[in-house]
């Protein structure tokens, strides 16, 4: 059975039981009083019966006296024994008040039966004169009996006067009691009903409010219900649902946020691609042309030019191939080498490129991670300096993974510019930011790219490649 059902049953059983008990009690009292008053009535009737039977005895005796017969004698004897029985029964009527009277009454009956018997005997013996005398005596005694019956009855009335008064009072008091009990039950039931309905409606109200909150989108307000029945279960289930939804929504929000970032980055990438496409008319044609040029230069004995063209071609191929996928670090390093070879051809002695690699280069990284940074170092760091400088690429294993450093000893970046680079406001200067975002997206971590610079001293860009992250994807 459920708790609420239990409550309802309990309330109903309580009401029924209370009413039942009261009904039983009232019935009991009434019945008792009824019994008592019946008892009194029975006394009256018994007393009255004595008088009646005595009269019947006298009548019967008279018949026997006037017209003696065996039948009438028989009848009279039967009546006699009836009166004798009554006389015995009279003893049950005795109480403290009427002891004297009852004794007298019994003796009178004795007298009348004795006399009657004498009459019968005398009639039997044909002594009619004496029989008549005795009969007169019996009649007189019978009269005394009926007189005493009246006296006894009136005395009984007096004795039971108090009883009847009490009976009437009891019934009045019972009425009053019934009224009060009714009032009490009403109040108790009202109170119980109030408490009961409250115990149901309050959690329902709370649930309703919680549901409203949820409907209005307030998923952060806890559902609190103080109850121990099904509603509590409902509430806790509801609360559980709320928490789940809340978590789900949080997750969704986060994902949406991420998605947005991703979208943004894709746009950035697209932009850079567009930019590079704008820069290159037909890359494949150019690639092929560059290869042809390289062969021609080689055949012409310009080996240096030929090598340069091979580097340019390699750079171009890499560019075409690996736009938005992860590549092993060594490929990226190789591309940087080619790029630097081209730049060195351009800057001649002004640009020095050194590498210091002490790590496993099979680690995958997003393509074009290093190239924009090296390009920045060359173009913004070394190029403005008249004497040129050195660009260093250091890769080493650190406890967290790999540390890639791109250092130049160029003119450096001032603080204001540094700010702008890290959080670009416009389309310009997005190279650094682009790399940073792509790294974050790729590894799912932030702070992977750091830049330190001081004016005139050069710039150091540090990339942290986390260990084992995305290892499976590689």
């Amino acid at each position: 059975m459920t708790k609420i059902q239990q409550k309802i049953w309990l309330l109903v059983i309580l009401a029924v039981a209370v009413m039942g008990i009261i009904w039983l009690a009232l019935t009991h009292v009434t019945e008792q009083n009824q019994q008592k008053s019946n008892e009194v009535l029975k006394r009256y009737m018994e007393i009255n019966d004595v008088s009646q039977q005595t009269k019947a005895l006298i009548t019967s005796l008279n018949t026997q006296l006037v017209t003696p017969s065996a039948y009438h004698a028989q009848q009279t004897r039967a009546q006699l024994s009836k009166v004798r029985d009554l006389e015995q029964e009279l003893e049950t009527l005795r109480n403290d008040d009427n002891g004297f009277r009852i004794t007298s009454y019994r003796h009178l009956l004795e007298s009348v039966t004795d006399t009657s018997e004498r009459v019968l005997r005398l009639v039997n013996e044909q002594e009619l004169e004496e029989a008549t005398m005795e009969f007169n005596e019996a009649t007189r005694i019978a009269n005394y009996i009926s007189e005493m019956t009246m006296t006894l009855l009136s005395e009984e009335m007096a004795t039971y006067n108090g009883f009847y008064g009490a009976l009437i009072e009891t019934s009045e008091q019972l009425n009053k009691l019934a009224l009060f009990v009714l009032a009490l039950i009403t109040v108790v039931l009202l109170a119980a009903t109030y408490g009961f309905s409250y115990s149901i409606t309050k959690p329902v109200d709370e649930l309703t409010r919680a549901a409203n909150d949820l409907a209005e989108g307030h998923f952060d307000r806890p559902v609190k219900v103080e109850s121990k029945d099904e509603l509590a279960f409902l509430a806790s289930t509801f609360e559980h649902m709320r928490v789940n939804i809340n978590e789900y929504i949080d997750e969704l929000t986060q994902k949406a946020h991420l998605e947005q970032e991703l979208q943004k980055n894709k746009l950035l990438l697209k932009e850079s691609q567009l930019k590079s496409l704008q820069n290159q008319m037909n890359p494949h044609f150019l690639f092929n042309t560059l290869n042809t040029l390289s062969k021609k230069a080689y055949l012409d004995g310009a080996e240096e030019t030929s090598d340069l063209l091979v580097d340019v071609a390699g750079l171009l191929r890499y560019n075409l191939k690996n736009r938005d996928q992860a590549v092993p670090l060594e490929e990226e390093v190789a591309v940087i080498a080619q790029y630097m070879a081209i730049q060195q051809a351009r800057f001649a002695d002004r640009l020095t490129y050194t590498t210091s690699i002490d790590a496993d280069l099979s680690v995958p990284i997003p393509s074009f991670t290093l190239q924009p940074l090296v390009e920045n170092a060359v173009i913004h760091g070394i190029e403005p300096v008249e004497n040129g400088g050195t660009v260093k690429l250091n890769i080493k294993t650190v406890p967290q993974g790999l540390q890639i450093q791109i250092m130049d000893d160029g003119q450096g970046i001032n603080a204001e510019q540094l700010q702008r680079i890290q959080a670009p406001q416009s389309e310009a200067h997005i190279g650094f930011y682009n790399v940073q975002k792509r790294l974050e997206l790729f590894y799912g971590q932030t702070n992977l790219l750091q830049i330190t610079s001081s004016e005139g001293q050069g710039t150091v860009v540090t990339i942290h490649i986390p260990r084992e992250e995305r290892a499976d994807d590689a």
């Binding site: 005394y144 004795t159 009691l177 009060f180 108790v188």
Partner: protein
């Protein structure tokens, strides 16, 4: 939950609980109890039968008897008739006899049916009869004994008292019932004994006890003996009427008035100085003695009873004494 509502509910519940509790108590309290059925204890039943129920004198007799009956632990009842209704009185007596009471204390009535009842019926059932206050001759009734004032002595004492104021040659009217009951005859006997050879003329007149008869008798007496010096009412119940009739015609102080205390107004008349003296008896003592002797006799403690009777004392009460 609404705190106010809770408090109201609580108060109402307490209030009605108290009312219900009180009502339950009242119902319990009011529940009628039947008198308990008693056992026949086989105690002696004694009846006191008088012709003058509810008169001061007999109430006092009954009171004395009742007290003694209670002391002795016997059942006791007063029955009889009101105002000398002989028939009702004798019916009561017969009823008592047929009811087989163990003993009867009775105001003696000088009447044939009384004698028959006492002599035949009571004797048939073996019920002892003791006369009280007013005696009847023992030979007619077979009464066991008499308890009360020695009426002869009382009459004599009253006569002697009257002599204190009477002189030789004075006329004394004695009023007695026309039935000449035994106790009045006794009193007269005493009176006559007192007035014997005192040179007092005693005129004895009988009267019926009906009011009109009494008035007539008194008027006749006053007509016939206007110069008489004293009136002695042997039956105390006549006193009031006689006093009224005399005072209608002449000054009460013309006469000396004497009577006994077993009448309705005797004491009051003495207090208001309308009569000169009366014989006061001891009714309580009579009742008490009657019950005591009867019970003693029934229990076999005192046997036989003195046939002459047991006399209780009396005294003469004068105006102002």
């Amino acid at each position: 939950m609404n705190k106010q509502l809770l408090i109201i509910f609580g108060l109402l519940i307490v209030f009605f609980s108290v009312l219900v509790g009180r009502a339950v108590y009242q119902v319990m309290d009011a529940t009628p109890q039947l008198p308990k059925i008693a056992k026949d204890t086989n105690t002696l039943h004694i009846a006191l039968i008088t012709q003058e129920l509810d008169t001061p004198f007999w109430d006092r007799v009954a009171q004395g008897a009742k007290q003694e009956a209670k002391k002795q632990g016997v059942a006791f009842e007063v029955t009889g008739a009101y105002a000398f209704d002989d028939s009702a009185f004798l019916d009561a007596m017969e009823l008592a006899i047929h009811s087989k009471v163990d003993g009867i204390l009775i105001q003696g009535l000088d009447n044939p049916r009384f004698k028959e009842l006492a002599q035949v019926k009571a004797a048939y059932y073996g019920i002892p009869i003791i006369t009280i206050a007013n005696d009847v001759p023992v030979k007619d009734t077979l009464r066991k004994t008499y308890i009360g004032t020695d009426q002869v002595a009382a009459g004599q004492a009253l006569g002697k008292h009257a002599l204190q104021t009477l002189k030789k040659g004075d006329e004394v009217v004695v009023l007695m019932d026309e039935a000449k009951p035994y106790f009045e005859r006794q009193r007269l006997k005493g009176l006559k004994r007192a007035f014997h050879r005192q040179g007092i003329e005693v005129i004895v007149r009988t009267t019926g006890h009906e009011q009109q008869q009494l008035v007539d008798s008194t008027q006749q007496l006053l007509n016939e003996h206007p110069t008489s010096d004293a009136f002695i009412m042997l039956n105390a119940n006549y006193t009031n009427t006689v006093v009224q009739e005399i005072s209608k015609r002449m000054r009460l102080s013309n006469f000396q008035l004497y009577t006994f205390d077993d009448g309705v107004d005797a004491e009051a008349l003495l207090q208001s100085k309308k009569i000169n003296a009366l014989v006061t008896q001891q009714p309580e003592k009579m009742g008490q003695q009657g019950v005591k002797r009867l019970v003693d006799w029934l229990n076999g403690n005192e046997m036989p009873l003195k046939v002459a009777g047991y006399f209780t004392s009396f005294e003469i009460e004068e105006v102002g004494s």
